[in-house]
Symmetry: C4
Amino acid sequence: MNDHPAHLLRRLVAEFLGTGLLVTVVVGSGIAASTLSPDDVGLQLMENSIATGLGLAVLIVVFGPVSGAHFNPVVTLVDAVLSRVSSARARSSTLAGYVAAQVAGAITGALLSNAMFEVPMAISETDRLSGGRLLGEVVATAGLVLLIFALTRTGRGHLAPAAVGAYIGAAYWFTSSTSFANPAVTIGRIFSDTFAGISPASVAPFIGAQLLGAALGAALTALLFPATN
Amino acid sequence: MNDHPAHLLRRLVAEFLGTGLLVTVVVGSGIAASTLSPDDVGLQLMENSIATGLGLAVLIVVFGPVSGAHFNPVVTLVDAVLSRVSSARARSSTLAGYVAAQVAGAITGALLSNAMFEVPMAISETDRLSGGRLLGEVVATAGLVLLIFALTRTGRGHLAPAAVGAYIGAAYWFTSSTSFANPAVTIGRIFSDTFAGISPASVAPFIGAQLLGAALGAALTALLFPATN
Amino acid sequence: MNDHPAHLLRRLVAEFLGTGLLVTVVVGSGIAASTLSPDDVGLQLMENSIATGLGLAVLIVVFGPVSGAHFNPVVTLVDAVLSRVSSARARSSTLAGYVAAQVAGAITGALLSNAMFEVPMAISETDRLSGGRLLGEVVATAGLVLLIFALTRTGRGHLAPAAVGAYIGAAYWFTSSTSFANPAVTIGRIFSDTFAGISPASVAPFIGAQLLGAALGAALTALLFPATN
Amino acid sequence: MNDHPAHLLRRLVAEFLGTGLLVTVVVGSGIAASTLSPDDVGLQLMENSIATGLGLAVLIVVFGPVSGAHFNPVVTLVDAVLSRVSSARARSSTLAGYVAAQVAGAITGALLSNAMFEVPMAISETDRLSGGRLLGEVVATAGLVLLIFALTRTGRGHLAPAAVGAYIGAAYWFTSSTSFANPAVTIGRIFSDTFAGISPASVAPFIGAQLLGAALGAALTALLFPATN
């Protein structure tokens, strides 16, 4: 938990790689699913959601001991708010580093998927805007934040890989937006005009809804799991 | 385990949110599945059942430490009966509060699903009555109750999220009723005329079968796992 | 670990219920799968195998502390052989009781599935005999026995629910016989002329192959995990 | 951790059986999937990937305590490099024995699948060469190596079965090559002209990419999880 540069650098590398590979999983499995199961969008989403749930769990296992495995700016932000004074991680320079590493990783991950599947580089044209989908993002992000900080505040961080993977695997289905729930991943998904893509015009409203959801999730955490100190 | 009002309030909020989000998962993933996989009802049910199993496990992880994560009036009722004298939770006022929170949550969860998927508000017209399906509800609920209290009586409550999620994921398939097994969720599912809906006329017989199954499950628990005191 | 009648009775009830519900899961989910996904046998098998893997894991969780959750005559038999002198369980009267409870449970479980799904009572006409499938049963049963007693001999019995459930979920696919691997369940599956059924004429060769596989699995266990005493 | 011949023999048997059964799972479930779901390659891959993920997890559970459950020459090689001086396992004779057992097991496992499914013996004609797929193998193998040695270096080897199984289940989808990630398994898969086969001409480039990925994974391990001694 010290914070000297070498350690911080490793943490930033972990956030870059973890967020990047998360986008690779989401985008790559989306390309495979839509190519291999062309006749049923539900089957494509099942293939995509199972791969993402499993892959995300593994990424948290790998990078959790290094960086905490946030992979998500709203998680980093809520972590800074909820654990304010007591943690060195909350310092704003670290926070900015985390978010920058996450966004850079997410974009790189989308490009890596395109390269593996030999898909031409293109900006996504998938318009995802609708009132229902924005509500979906609020719900998805609130649930994600509540889950993560419920685990933190009850000393059950070891359950995070399975629980967060399961949550996202389910949230692909029970939210109307297929649960982006992550501003960095949302930005990364601009850079692949494939199954999991999102057009630039949809991104800002999605991120707005995610921030609202994060605030709601943080409030529920404070209500249900008051800090012990 | 104390019982002063603030604590009870948190527990009721947890039951309201947990039962509500359980119905959101069931109904929401049902809407997504039937929309995206229009040609195969089995594929729809697989998408619906996997999402529900994963989502239910996560909800138990999140709310278990607060309220015990009953989310189900028959679980609350059997808990009161089996742990009678020794637990403050069994007091009738708490029991009534739990059931009220569960039913209110379930209805709210169905409405949230409708809103996310922009489905018009309507009462379900899905008639689910048949002798075989009522037998299915008896079996489904007996198994659920036996599972939960087998875990409780052998000190393995930490297995509940994975085990209950897996149980429901399987019971969608091995019972003819797709395993409602929960009076509050059954009532909530009236309020969405979509894949997971149930018409009001089917509800009372379903709840009757669930109560019978709960009694059977409690009897099996008492036989196989006699209380240690 | 004592062996007075009441305790033995509970163990036999657990074996009866556990084996019975295992067949209910196998046969019931098979009926649901073939009814709801009529156009793709692979999809049916996936629905059937996922439900079975999850359901079996839960049954081991529930009944394991009572009877050891054998649910399978070859497991009971190998357990008696490998733990010979040291365990009261190995006594032949207990062994006979276990096997009788397993077979009676398996038949009852098939009948319960038929009742829930309102399928007429009929003996299965599904011929499953072929040289490749019998080899499949040898492999499936050897692997199951090796898994179970590897866990026992390394003190990792707590992994049995997840590991055995995962094993069967996979063995539906990697063996050509869909992995019956259990004489009691094989007999039970005679009594439903549906997806998971087996004609009486195929049963004896299947059980012979299972016994051969069990011997192979026991030999591999003895080779790789020599008893510590 | 001693190294007398009997112990080493058991370890080699474990590597032979484990790698062999892994290929049996991959090839056998591939044959079942392509036979039973002829109309949708994505559905075939989902059936194949779920069976493989579950089966691999079980094989690590079974053989891990005996041999470490490498089942993969690049894992054995990286293990020798990363733990160099301190471990008897790293001795080159042991290394050669492990690799030989893995390759012999892999070929045997393919032949066993052919026998169970009564598929004629034939060399695969499936050409898998492309730049994107080779990049996929680099990514798949780097991720596998990083995962395994992240677990080792953080003392969480007990998570390996679930984590490695989940990783491969996801990597079937997010890499364009369906994630062979294993030279022994790649060689084994030559010997079945079915869904999971690979033509001999594709093998050497695949293994080259895997070695490159292994080096990358080892480098990332050294960067993120520096050895504690």
